[in-house]
Symmetry: C2
Amino acid sequence: MKLPESTEWVLHAATALAQLAQFDQGSTASAAQLAEHYDLPAAYLAKQLQALVRAGLLSGSTGPRGGFRLARPADQITLLQVVEAVDGESPFYTCREIRQRGRGAVPPEQCREACGLAALMAAAEAAWRASLAATTIADVVAALPPGLPGRTRSLLARPR
Amino acid sequence: MKLPESTEWVLHAATALAQLAQFDQGSTASAAQLAEHYDLPAAYLAKQLQALVRAGLLSGSTGPRGGFRLARPADQITLLQVVEAVDGESPFYTCREIRQRGRGAVPPEQCREACGLAALMAAAEAAWRASLAATTIADVVAALPPGLPGRTRSLLARPR
DNA sequence: GGCGTTATACTCGGATACCACGTGTCCGAGTACCCCCGG
DNA sequence: CCGGGGGTACTCGGACACGTGGTATCCGAGTATAACGCC
């Protein structure tokens, strides 16, 4: 029950791209740039960013001055979407209905309602997802210390 | 980000032991019995139940008529405790402070407050844990169809 | 018949292999840019 | 000076090894039981 370490990477990367978009809507940052910015393995970070592209959160362009940028405004990208893009959407807990198996198998007519344990686990998971869905990347950028977005942008601005 | 499959096993096992304790405080069920009851690999289930013993949720006794029983009343055992016993208590998301590393490292004086992303992820995780901590094994047993605890007990009662 | 001893069978508990997923890396396909050449 | 073409360098994108943790299994240590023999 641990999120991939790359979750942190893509969350910060998305935040950085959002800061970049604040100044120049169409500007991009390459995977190599972001990797250097956070001291991360470039190739693996690129792999994860590709996952965000597949999820429709980022758009990637090739060639010189290419790179990644947010596919839509930062206030329309939630933390949950970023996390699910890199970690998948499969639920934490999957009920295999073991109550209906083995010597103590409960007869099907008693199983009309869902397994109580599965329902409780699903409710907890829903609380987690709801908490993450309540915040957008734009909220994260807004909470940054003032002046930092400008600094980020100047560091990520590529040599013209 | 998936709970071990054995999580379901121990949750159901704890529920079964709670039903057993309703009738006879000191009665035990062996790992082999519980495994047969749910059609599970006995040895591996035993390994997970040992984890619950280490966590202080169950107590195990050896010898004939030995086995596992709840270490305290079912209304004092939460789902969270059971899950953490088998899955560990390590947080989903660990902040490695990548914002302070690499080319874009934020100076320490700007990092007096915790990383905003880490705080949000921690809040979501807290919501999950709180949801699981709000329900006890006793609640689960109380929600079972009437008559089922008696059946479970008769199936698990061992040949005198 | 009662009690002590012994043998037994059953239990947990930990140490040992196997497999999948996350981690890390590499190379190839594609493209926008830049330079050069010709008009 | 201006436009077109080719070369180049940079980008993403997917395919290939490695390590850690969950899954599964086994065998040994310990104990309450039950039977047995003795008093």
